[in-house]
């Protein structure tokens, strides 16, 4: 099956669906026409795209936690707590790692072990094993839109079951849920799988049901320069739009420097709209999501509150549409529900206090924005060239050639040649460009920024800077200065 960026033929889609739904017994519980009817009776307050549209109009930054446990009644309790005590504007259902790898038998074992142990032995909610009706119990137990969050390269069955189950937002994409989440999965395959997911969402849209799609912005979550994650997000938006997706939330993970982060959020929606319009996908609703610090966290909970709140300040000043919230237990693994609500409450306090403030467009901010635009366009335009006009083909070839290259990715299909490091103000720059298609101006900008740090620290730029930067935040610092 040859990969092309073209809307899947409906008959071909129906045929593929039969296979997908038969891959695990719960697939038989999906009735698409009945699911469309189910969605149509959901109140607007439970539909992600509608609530996002309202927030965008009113300038609200919404807060959403991450959460998911193995047992259904505990998962529902957890979400209700995050809604009632934490004040979550949107709720998640984070899927466990076995399900992300389509290892449903091991997920089943995990459910059984969890029942036996009396605590969750899985790191998320195994939605496929539970099936459509259980998902609807989750949706019906809460008052706000619920999103599926996972990290699944082949999420076709998961999408079928959770969307039929009434979830109104589905995170991921053929690149963003492969390169940072998989070791061997070829991009051709994952992009093709996600064309299916997007085609399914497109079918819902064609039948009057709004489903929001959210490419996973932070990628590996550590020292990812904005132009890399922007390029991936925009390619996934283009691929999704081709399949009929109408509502997209594009993401970006906090790097830590205020100006770079605000510049990244402001350019993300703007560049996405530029490319969507240029390639004929007009009328899409584009919103943005900011992920609080995805790197290492301090073990101390008070210090973690500092990291969380700094993310909240940046989200507020960037006037992003949604922020994904960390918890004070971040360094210790999966948080208690109380810790999860605590992260939300600290975040919402900051968002509320800053809701009338923003960062004015200064020359510093304009420079950051302009560099992100140039870099992102350079990557995107070279990708399209490699794909001979086809974004899907281009994406595969661009990763092979290192034209798109994600730092610290586990995938064999990522070249892994670029090296990011912080500059003297903590912004993430390129220490090594690998095979990125950047011109002399862009290269000179980054080299000078890194050199400035080297001079300040009296050392040559090297991989040691990268190690120092990664461990720095656990010691309370952004820039990893020489020890």
């Amino acid at each position: 099956m040859e990969l092309v960026n073209k809307k899947l033929d409906l008959e071909q889609f129906w045929a593929e669906r039969q296979e997908v739904l038969q891959s695990w017994p719960t697939g038989r519980g999906v009735d698409l026409e009945e699911a469309i009817a189910y969605h149509k009776q959901l109140p607007a307050s439970k539909v992600m795209a509608k609530k996002l549209a309202q927030g965008k109009r009113e300038g609200i930054t919404f807060a959403q936690p991450r959460a998911g446990v193995a047992l259904l009644h505990e998962h529902i309790e957890l979400l209700r707590y995050l809604q009632d005590e934490g004040g979550a504007d949107f709720l998640p259902t984070t899927i466990d790692s076995y399900t992300r790898q389509n290892r449903y038998k091991e997920a089943e074992t995990g459910i059984e072990e969890s029942r036996a142990a009396g605590r969750s032995m899985l790191n998320g909610f195994p939605a496929v094993n539970y099936g459509v009706d259980a998902c609807r119990k989750v949706v019906e137990a809460v008052n706000v839109p619920v999103q599926v969050r996972h990290g699944t390269p082949d999420a076709r069955l998961l999408a079928e079951i959770t969307l039929a189950g009434g979830f109104t937002d589905f995170e991921g994409g053929g690149i963003s849920y492969n390169i940072p989440y998989s070791k061997d999965m070829p991009l051709e395959k994952s992009i093709r799988y996600w064309q299916y997911v997007d085609r399914l969402v497109g079918y819902y849209e064609e039948n009057g049901v709004s489903i929001n799609r959210e490419p996973f912005g932070p990628l590996t979550g550590t020292l990812v320069p904005p132009s890399i994650s922007h390029a991936v997000a925009i390619i996934e938006a283009l691929l999704a739009a081709e399949q009929g997706v109408m509502n997209l939330t594009l993401g970006y993970g906090q790097c830590g420097n205020l100006y770079q982060d605000v510049a990244a959020i402001r350019t993300l929606a703007e560049l996405a709209e530029e490319y969507l319009n240029r390639f004929g996908y007009s009328g899409r609703q584009i919103t943005t999501v900011f992920h609080q610090w995805m790197g290492g966290f301090p073990q101390d909970e008070s210090k973690a509150f500092g990291v969380i709140s700094w993310g909240a300040v940046t989200a507020a000043l960037a006037r992003v549409n949604k922020v994904i919230v960390k918890t004070p237990h971040e360094a210790m693994g999966i948080p208690t529900r109380e810790a999860n609500a605590a992260g939300l409450k600290a975040t919402k306090q900051v968002l509320n206090m800053l809701k009338d403030q923003s960062l004015p467009l200064t020359s510093e901010l304009q420079l950051e924005m302009e560099m992100i635009r140039k870099e992102t366009r350079a990557i995107l335009d070279k990708t399209l060239e490699l794909g001979e006009g086809d974004w899907a083909v281009g994406a595969v070839r661009a990763f092979k050639a290192g034209v798109i290259d994600v730092p610290f990715a586990p995938s064999r299909h990522n070249l892994g040649k670029i090296l990011p490091a912080r500059d003297n103000q903590g912004a993430v720059r390129f220490l090594d460009f690998g095979q990125l298609p950047f011109d002399a101006e862009i290269r000179a900008f980054h080299q000078e920024k890194i050199a400035e740090r080297g001079r300040k620290e009296n050392r040559q730029p090297s991989f040691q800077m990268v190690i120092d930067d990664i461990y720095a935040i656990g010691k309370g610092m952004l820039v990893g200065r020489p020890r």
């Binding site: 790692s97 076995y98 992300r100 790898q101 290892r103 091991e106 995990g110 072990e113 605590r119 969750s120 032995m121 899985l122 790191n123 990290g151 940072p180 989440y181 998989s182 070791k183 590996t220 979550g221 550590t222 290492g296 073990q299 237990h329 360094a331 210790m332 693994g333 999966i334 948080p335 208690t336 810790a339 610290f408 990715a409 586990p410 064999r412 991989f463 190690i467 990664i470 461990y471 656990g474």
Partner: protein, 149 residues
């Protein structure tokens, strides 16, 4: 006891794809003079053991960041014994369990499972390097590229 080499098998076990610590440790251990056989993320117990046998490794370093480490690591020591490398060093580190638990109890559980060293999240590469040198009988020497290599 002195080991015959300083080859290490490094990997992330189970369905876990967290690659950052793995890449950092690979770099730091290599720079410290160890021979690192990095089997990457999503490695099975069998892949760890096969790589250790093939390269005659002195230690297996198991990373787990996603909370399923306890399930994934169970039985690894027994399989090493069955495979004839029962005395190989086993280290584990990362977010080994789901939820916030007292690290001392996590460490105790993993030691009962046959691990020689257990590390909490955020452990610096230096700590692992120091322990490896001690357990491999190199003492505090920095001369890791000497005759032991």
């Amino acid at each position: 006891m002195a080991r015959k080499n300083n080859t290490l098998v490094l990997g992330v076990i189970g369905a876990d794809v967290h690659a950052i610590g793995n890449k950092i440790l690979d770099h730091a251990l290599t720079a410290a003079g160890f021979k690192v056989v990095n089997i990457g993320v999503m490695a099975t117990q069998e892949e760890f053991i096969n790589a250790a046998i093939e390269t005659d490794a002195a230690a297996i370093l198991v990373g787990s960041l996603y909370g399923h480490g306890e399930l994934d690591c169970r039985g690894l020591r027994d399989k090493c014994i069955e495979a004839g490398i029962g005395d190989i060093l086993l280290y584990a580190g990362g977010n080994l369990v789901v939820g916030k638990q007292d690290f001392a109890s996590v460490e105790a559980r993993f030691k009962t499972m046959g691990f020689n060293r257990v590390y909490p999240p955020g452990t610096l590469p230096e700590v692992v390097i120091r322990d490896l040198r001690q357990d491999l009988g190199e003492g505090e020497s920095n001369d890791s590229e000497g005759p032991l290599g």
